[in-house]
């Protein structure tokens, strides 16, 4: 089974937009991937048909077959039935698909599934359950930081990552740090209160 060579950096992986920018032909290959990361050219070509991959999702190793063009978001939702991350803009704009990749928040719509191998993927389902909620999830409920709830999973993941980096955020930190997620119903006020509450109650590990 061909295995893609992994880039050495533990960055969020290439974005699909960068990928398309670099791509001059329709065929998908890891040569493009390594090109983006400035590595050598001695890599195997993946696809265009399905390839077998392994993804570590919420602590479990999952095996699946996908075409190399399949995004991490589609792989999670359509192949693995992990549907917490939502597909909204599908273009790195709205943040509804935010997941953690090795602890860093990324837009799963703009990471290829093949690129997420050998990384720890955490979705909103991996943070907590209705019975045992993560502090951010609990604060979202208590401050009514959701209405229709479609942006909520992405926001919860983004807030958890944000609070990890900014345990005591001020309003300017919050505006910038959570500016990558959009809500249509207008739940920002509840989200601000939820973030402040988590910080005041000892942070995300409390």
């Amino acid at each position: 089974m061909p295995k893609p060579k992994q880039p050495e950096q533990t960055s969020s992986g290439i974005s699909r937009r960068d990928f398309f920018k670099s791509s001059t032909v329709g065929a998908v290959s890891t040569a493009l991937v390594s090109g983006v990361h400035g590595e050598g050219s001695s890599v195997e070509v993946l696809g265009p048909g399905e390839v077998g991959i392994k993804l570590n999702v919420n602590g479990k190793t999952r095996r699946l077959r996908v075409e190399p063009r399949v995004t991490l978001l589609d792989a999670l939702r359509s192949e693995l039935d992990v549907t917490g991350a939502k597909k909204v803009c599908d273009r790195s704009t709205c943040g509804a698909c935010t997941v953690l990749l090795d602890g860093k928040p990324v837009y799963a719509c703009s990471v290829l599934a093949v690129e997420a191998q050998d990384k720890q993927i955490v979705t909103v389902e991996g943070l907590g359950t209705p019975e045992k909620m993560h502090p951010v999830q609990k604060a979202f409920v208590e401050n009514d930081a959701q209405q229709c709830g479609f942006c909520t999973p992405g926001f919860v993941v983004a807030c958890a990552a944000f609070l990890e980096k900014h345990p005591n955020p001020d309003i300017e930190d919050l505006k910038k740090g959570l500016g990558g997620n959009l809500c249509r119903c207008g739940t920002y006020d509840g989200i601000k209160k939820a973030v402040k509450q988590v910080a005041a109650e000892g942070g995300i590990n409390a």
């Binding site: 909204v88 009514d144 249509r184 006020d189």
Partner: protein
């Protein structure tokens, strides 16, 4: 028969408190299943080929290559050769395939030939429109005499552009045929109980054979009442393929064809006498909601100006069609009216707060509510401290200003039926074919039942989102809370009467001498005689209690007609044209509030949605090609968490409000933001920016024509 009313304030145990929503935990953990999340065994994915032209005739369609592709399982021509297409992104062919990518590949293999026709998308430019449909002029009083005798006359042009609903969960369905005649549809909808009939109509099967399920919906705002052509096609593809099919709209289609709010432009003239009394109004408005044009905004909005003339023209265009956008036509009418009146106040030289209060009797039956709310709002925003005459915002490039607006809405409860069961194990369930759009419908139903039974909301199992439950109205027009809470209250009162009748002998008391409180049923005045809810229901044995509730019904449980006011505090950078919101205040009534927490969330959300359409949102059409230029979320702009400023919400409750019963709240608070923000910008920079949204280019253009720059 019980007496159908709401409990007095001192007897409410749950109603009116702040309760976190029941479906909060499943939403924040990703467990809530939306239509977009449904995956059935063997499910196919459908995509639609859409028309690239704004106006065209289909000459030919060749699907042969797509049909032959591996993984393609069903193809449907939605429109045939000869059909005339009236807007770009209209659906032509639908394909169902094993994966989304294969479906997308198949669309590329379909060849459609078009005869391109002339299009018109420049809706503001009425003189260039190929078709203009004028309505009858409406005249009240003697506007000519009023203007001739007026001390002050103000004239202006105002325009609100077409915007989209832009639901985060796009429109769509998952359809599965149980057999040749029975269909189940998972739909992203605001109308669980009315969709079976619509699917049945489209497919030629009885409504009884269609089941519609929607547990959670990712936004609707008035755009999700219909089965829609794509829903019917999804079901047809599923039948052809013999497998379940999921069809969700792409983002560009969601913005262009699945919801739009009509534009509204108007030339308005207003008049006041020497004391600042409003005496005259004359307006000529036009706008579009796509090929169907659009009806007149109700102007002058709220204000019953004694002498007035209005004429509206509907402009059909090749912009995508419109749907009911939260408070249909009210935000546009409010923007046109309150902007024109604020300009008149500036002409008179009055503080608009004083001007509005001076004329408040013209707002009719709710004028006292408005006056009370304006005083509260003024305190909350510091109106008297921060307000300055128009354009006198001091030196420096950033100018601060205040603006206000007021609005109304009906909000009477819709038809609703429910069934309530008290089980012998003490559990309580209530079933109704309603839906929770994120407004808190589940939670208010539970609170009503809990309050009646002396239980907590978490003790109540609320079953909604399935057309097999008793029919309940669509969630539109702010009618849901009045409908479902009234039906639930009636069912609860009937069930309680039955329960008390059954256990009264056990307590050696008459049923009417019993009361329920804190999960206990006891004899009034003799608390030693009591049974816990669990003990009491255990006596039911196999004869559990089932009661139904309806709305409308006996007793006065709901009402119609609310008043709300909003004020905005903005800063405008006169060098960049960027408007930022410092603070917004909303003061709103809605009768008896069931859950204060989700009610306040509705108002917060409406303020933010209002800020969005005031500062950012519009469908940008390319006049050359007639297509939508910003069919994505990068360029169809929505504000982020840092763009909305401080929001203050004050709900009017207590005597004078509570006894009116329950009134809907979803729409009214989204009406005023456009006018309040536009007025604040005019106050800041000294000149009216005539358009919504107030984009930087428009602010700079207005400043170029005068003002504070």
């Amino acid at each position: 028969m019980p007496e159908y009313n709401w409990p007095e304030a001192e007897k409410r145990s749950r109603i009116g408190n702040r309760k976190t929503r029941l479906d909060g935990p499943v939403k924040v953990t990703g467990k809530a299943e939306y239509t977009y999340d449904v995956k059935l065994y063997g499910m196919l994915y459908a995509k639609m080929l859409t028309c690239p032209h704004a106006h065209a005739k289909i000459v030919s369609i060749d699907i042969s290559q797509a049909e032959a592709m591996e993984g393609v399982k069903a193809i449907r021509m939605i429109q045939e050769p000869g059909a005339e297409i009236q807007w770009a992104d209209d659906e032509i062919v639908a394909v169902a395939a094993e994966t989304e990518d294969i479906a997308r590949d198949a669309l590329k293999a379909i060849k459609v030939e078009y005869e391109v026709l002339d299009h018109f998308v420049d809706d503001e430019n009425k003189d260039a429109a190929p078709v203009v449909n004028p309505a009858q002029e409406e005249v009240t009083g003697d506007p000519d005499a009023a203007f001739a005798n007026a001390a002050f006359v103000s004239e202006g042009f105002y325009g609100a552009r077409v915007i989209a609903h832009a639901c985060l969960e796009s429109h769509g369905d998952v359809a599965v045929w149980d057999d040749d005649e029975h269909l189940t549809v998972f739909a992203s909808t605001q109308a669980v109980s009315s969709l079976p009939g619509q699917f049945a109509d489209g497919l030629g099967i009885p409504a009884a054979n269609v089941r519609v399920i929607c547990q959670h919906v990712g936004g609707g705002f008035g755009s999700k009442f219909s089965a829609d052509r794509w829903g019917i096609e999804c079901a047809r593809l599923a039948k052809i393929a013999g497998r379940p099919v999921k069809l969700m709209l792409e983002r560009d289609a969601e913005i262009h064809v699945a919801g739009g709010r009509p534009s509204s432009y108007a030339k308005i003239k207003t008049a006041a006498d020497k004391d600042g009394n409003i005496v005259g109004w004359a307006s000529e408005s036009w706008g579009t909601g796509g090929p169907a044009g659009t009806g007149s905004p109700p102007v002058p909005y709220v204000w019953q100006i004694p002498n007035r003339r209005h004429q509206h023209s509907s402009i059909p265009t090749n912009i995508g069609p419109s749907r009911a956008w939260r408070a249909p036509n009210h935000p546009q009418a409010c923007f046109l009216t309150m902007s024109a009146l604020e300009d008149l106040a500036a002409k008179v030289g009055m503080d608009p707060l004083d001007f509005v209060l001076k004329n408040i009797a013209l707002t009719g039956t709710r004028s006292q509510n408005y006056a009370d709310e304006l005083k509260i709002g003024a305190d909350l925003i510091g109106w008297k401290h921060h307000w300055h005459p128009r354009g006198q915002a001091g030196d420096g490039p950033v100018k601060r200003g205040l603006g206000l607006a007021l609005h109304t809405w009906g909000g009477r409860g819709h038809q609703s039926n429910c069934e309530l069961v008290i089980h012998a194990d003490s559990s309580v369930e209530i079933k109704l074919g309603s839906q929770d759009l994120g407004t808190g419908t589940r939670t208010v139903i539970a609170l009503v039942v809990a309050d009646t039974f002396g239980l907590t909301a978490d003790d109540i199992t609320v079953r909604i989102g399935d057309s097999r439950y008793p029919a309940s109205g669509a969630s539109g027009g702010s009618t849901t809370v009045g409908g479902v809470s009234s039906a639930a209250r009636r069912a609860s009162l009937v069930a309680l009467e039955q329960l008390l009748g059954r256990i009264a002998p056990e307590l050696e008391a008459k049923p009417e001498d019993l009361e329920v409180i804190n999960s206990t049923i006891r004899v009034k005045g003799d608390h030693s005689k009591s049974l816990s809810w669990k003990e009491a229901t255990a006596l039911l044995g196999v004869s559990t209690i089932t009661a139904t509730g309806q709305h409308p019904g006996p007793g006065r449980l709901d009402d119609s007609g609310v008043a709300g006011i909003q004020m905005a505090d903005v800063s405008v950078d006169t060098e960049t044209g960027v408007v930022s919101i410092n603070k917004m205040v909303a003061v709103q009534d809605c009768g008896l509030i069931i859950d204060l927490m989700t009610a306040e969330s509705q108002v917060h959300g409406a303020l933010i949605m209002g800020i969005a359409y005031s500062l950012a949102e519009e469908r940008v059409m390319d006049p050359v090609t007639g297509t939508l230029l910003n069919g994505d979320m990068e360029f169809y702009k929505l504000p982020g968490i840092g763009d909305v400023g401080e929001l203050v919400v004050h709900m009017m409750t207590g005597p004078g409000y509570d006894e009116r019963g329950v009134i809907g709240l979803g729409e009214p608070p989204v009406v005023s933001p456009g006018a309040a923000i536009s007025n604040a910008v005019a106050n800041a920079i000294g000149v009216r920016v005539p358009y919504l949204p107030l984009t930087p280019d428009r602010v700079l253009e207005a400043l170029g024509k005068g003002g504070a720059a």
